[in-house]
Symmetry: C2
């Protein structure tokens, strides 16, 4: 709150920053530096650390330990109040942000005088059937950890499987999108695999396929055509297939179908496309354009003087009358950091009765790593390729990293990675929720007789064909079930192996519940028991009374008394 | 397979080792060293890495990065076939092990001539109500990672909560069990907290409680009384409460009740007790005693000449006529490694027509770290305390670590930890499954009106009291529901906040399904829809037809047409 037109801050202002990425973290820092004790700065972020996004592909490839690619926000923001919480909503009239802290269910309200929104963007993969269900993403630190565990899991599986089609799928890695994130992810992933193969003697290097699909007719759209051509050649020389003019038509857990009609057997799809506003930003109902919050050139949200936005969630014009996409700030770290400076200056001006200034900045260049110590760089109009560009990439980002400790750790990681083998430890990170949607293409096997009974399935769209050998006649019995039907419930009888084979009769989406999840419901939710009771009775079984299996994760069905 | 009584191995023998801990990994190594090309050695383990258990407390406290406390089995066992798979069953007559590989549902059969079982032990916490549901454990690398994330999560929460009782619970940490694992975990956890508090300005050091509860009247039962007393004093000087003669009566998500009747508000219970045979070992049906496989003194399983067992899963007598517990090999790494040597020698003898020898080894001593650079050691009859013992601890384990790279990394971790602040990055590791059992004590609040609608609850045992303010009369309406009843289902109507307050009317166990999990079932499982349909209709809502919310994680209930 500001004293009446004295130009002096008489009461401490509360400035709340939502989001701890490049935009939010640097804004909080710059605000604290400018305002000192004249303002209380609070930063709200879902995680308690700042992620240095450009290093995520290296975390995904194991050259940097996850904890070393990030810095605790509390290290970086010593005099800022950091709150680890998720933002639920904002009441702009009452100037209140509602958040949820930790596992807490009780909402917490935070008041503000000025609000800074820096919540980034989310991924929306729902446009391509199956991509949301089956693709990995590369936005968060968790994503990077998951990718590394997943890739090593594929090598482990390829090493020991006896089925050629499984081996082929396990050793085919697809990256969707040929921007910075996609290219760097493909390059680093290839490094990880190339360096790890010596530990997997039954995998021949020629069996590994790494594929980048890009819908445009070139990769690295932000760089010159010459550098993009060089990058494409370099990737291809390293054995990475670059498919231009190619998008994703659909995906399953074992296949990717391209818009050109190609069907690729793969168990790894990394989607680096599909930007969308984050749900909480959408719920705020602020004026927006192309999925981003509309701000004026001072970074104030249109129509408000106490709400500001920057970074990927904001649409920031670089000219008063923007013509095309090039007249808006691109969603890069470089820009976000500059926006943060301008925003802090503008809030400080506002508090002291000054006039906010428009944001104005030109890109100083762009850098991309291609893996295997090669890169491309475009800096101050100069172009670099190969090893020098890669070295520049590393040193630029090292200098850019906030926090001395993090810088030392990253340097140490790089040094150790240069002199020691890449570890193939597959840390467990659960990549699929226990209840999830799965897509199949017509003809896909869902499971076969003799397989492990690992879950309960219900058909959402499409249809499946179930085949079973009649135990009396020895003849096959076939039955088709469509939406609303379910299969695999034999596991409530204590079954551990399937007796039936199931395949998708058409393109099908199912909901799968893992065995343990399903058995917990069967054990403890009365409606479930009532529904499956007749089925159990037909098999001469019944459940013990509710609560008697207390302490057990799985129910122990018992034969009915008549049995 | 061995040629007829020639003493020469004429056909390659297949030896399969189940388990990659100290027993299994060292057995596979020793077998390869002794038998070379004369035998095919295969090791099956659920993870692709070897865990150096003694370092887990340090991983839990963040002084060692998780990936650095383990070594890939493929690094350590170069000429051994390593199979990342879970063991399902063994057919001892057909000499076949059935395993499941990766996400594969198809069983894989592995033949053997000799089988080595080194599957360790599992935890069984089911004897104390609530411990299984609410305690963390410290057996696996995942456990250690989860503990670190959990502890930092508590500091984050304590820093920002406005509720004194929540702060108290968040800052009280309980360790159950005063053996090596419990003591080292408590000591290291205290280190982590002490070193991190400078980043949490709103937490006063006096608000932190660290409590060890041990049922016996002393800690570190394997060491001398003098060292145990020193350790107890040292821990107490460091502000760690050691409660002797105290066990766990029951536990919930917010409280631990001791056998002495004390109720401790805590959100962190680490259980280091409760050894039990692993389920797969139990299913094998081998002769067993006190939950461990019975072996003769040559480590052959009683009654079989081609099946061997060692490590924590085996009961290994050190004398021909064992009298008490001290006449059996203790479940320590030191013993497992020696057992592995003897076992490899005995299998080699068997293959060459020789005579297996009995296992015979005396402990060389024991070491425990107490955190804060103090320890206790008992080596070759000598006793050490304080810093020298701690230093010995570190160097002994460093020397003991298999693999040069791991040794270098651990040393580097220790060095960096000595000169830089402990990182408070809270990496996300999901500690609770989306569908889980939760216990409440009579009177506990389950949720209150205005709270976030975060899940669906069904009562398994006990009863809950639901209180709601009638919107018309303004009077409270109270309703009690018991086993089989459920609450919280308003979230299928799109509710985001509770209208009702629920508390446990007696000691109660509920099954909770997270919002997202529940909504997936409501969206896609017809029996669920049928069951909740009338409830929705009463609220003037209905679901879109099955499959129409394709691609959506959550259903969008719509008003019924009549509405």
């Amino acid at each position: 709150m500001v004293g009446p037109a004295t130009g002096r801050i008489v009461v401490t202002s509360r400035i709340v920053v939502l989001g701890g990425g490049f935009g939010g973290m640097y804004a909080a820092r710059a605000l604290k530096r400018r305002l000192g004790r004249a303002a209380e700065i609070e930063l709200v972020n879902a995680e308690n650390y700042f992620v240095f996004q450009p290093l995520l592909p290296e975390v995904g490839a194991g050259s940097i330990t996850p904890a070393h690619a990030v810095s605790p926000l509390r290290f970086l923001l010593r005099d800022v109040f950091v709150r680890k919480a998720t933002v639920d909503s904002v009441d702009f009239d009452r100037r209140l942000v509602t958040v949820f802290q930790g596992v807490q269910r009780r909402p917490t309200e935070i008041g503000y005088d000025h609000l800074v929104i820096a919540l980034g963007q989310a991924a929306d993969l729902s446009k391509m059937p199956g991509l949301e269900e089956h693709a990995l993403t590369m936005r968060t630190l968790e994503d990077a950890r998951r990718l590394r565990a997943h890739v090593i899991g594929q090598l482990e599986h390829a090493q020991i499987t006896r089925l050629p089609e499984v081996k082929r799928g396990a050793l085919t890695f697809c990256v969707v999108g040929g921007g910075f994130s996609g290219i760097e992810t493909a390059g680093e992933m290839k490094d990880l695999i190339d360096r790890s193969l010596k530990f997997y003697p039954d995998i021949d290097p020629s069996e590994v396929r790494m594929i980048v699909v890009e819908f445009a007719d070139r990769i690295l759209g932000e760089m010159s055509q010459g550098l993009a051509d060089y990058a494409t050649r370099t990737l291809r020389e390293r054995g990475i297939e670059v498919k231009l003019g190619t998008g994703v038509a659909s995906a399953t857990g074992t296949q990717l179908v391209t818009t050109t009609g190609e069907v690729i057997d793969t168990r790894t799809i990394v989607a680096t496309i599909g930007n969308a506003p984050s749900p909480v930003v959408r719920r705020m109902g602020l004026p927006s354009e192309r999925g981003r919050i509309s701000v004026d050139r001072t970074l104030a949200v249109k129509g408000r003087s106490d709400v500001w936005a920057l970074g990927d969630c904001a649409l920031i014009a670089l000219k008063d009358a923007p013509q095309g996409p090039r007249d808006y700030a691109p969603p890069t770290a470089q820009f976000a950091v500059r926006e943060a400076e301008q925003l802090a200056e503008n809030i400080a001006s506002t508090l002291t009765g000054g006039t906010p200034q428009p944001f104005d900045y030109r890109s100083k260049g762009a850098l991309a790593s291609l893996g295997a110590r090669k890169g491309v760089a475009q800096v101050f109009g100069l172009e670099l390729k190969g090893f020098p560009a890669w070295l520049l990439w590393r040193f630029y980002y090292l200098a850019f990293l906030p926090g001395l400790t993090t810088r030392i750790f990253v340097l140490l990681n790089w040094f150790m990675d240069g002199i020691s083998p890449r570890s193939v430890v597959q840390l467990h990170t659960r990549s699929v929720p226990p209840t999830r949607y799965v897509r199949y293409r017509a003809g896909d096997v869902i499971y076969e007789a003799g397989n492990r009974s690992d879950g309960f399935y219900t058909v959402v769209t499409g249809a499946v064909e179930m085949t079973r050998t009649d135990p009396e006649t020895g003849l096959p019995q076939v039955r088709t079930i469509g939406p609303g039907g379910h299969f695999g419930e034999r596991l409530i009888l204590g079954a551990t192996r399937r007796q039936t084979s199931v395949r998708a009769a058409e393109d099908t989406k199912v909901l799968v519940m893992d065995r343990e999840e399903f058995l917990k419901l069967a054990d403890s939710f009365q409606a479930f028991r009532d529904y499956f009771g007749p089925y159990m009775a037909r098999h001469g079984m019944t459940w013990p009374p509710l609560g008697e299996t207390d302490g057990q994760a799985a129910p122990k069905p018992v034969p009915t008394e008549k049995d």
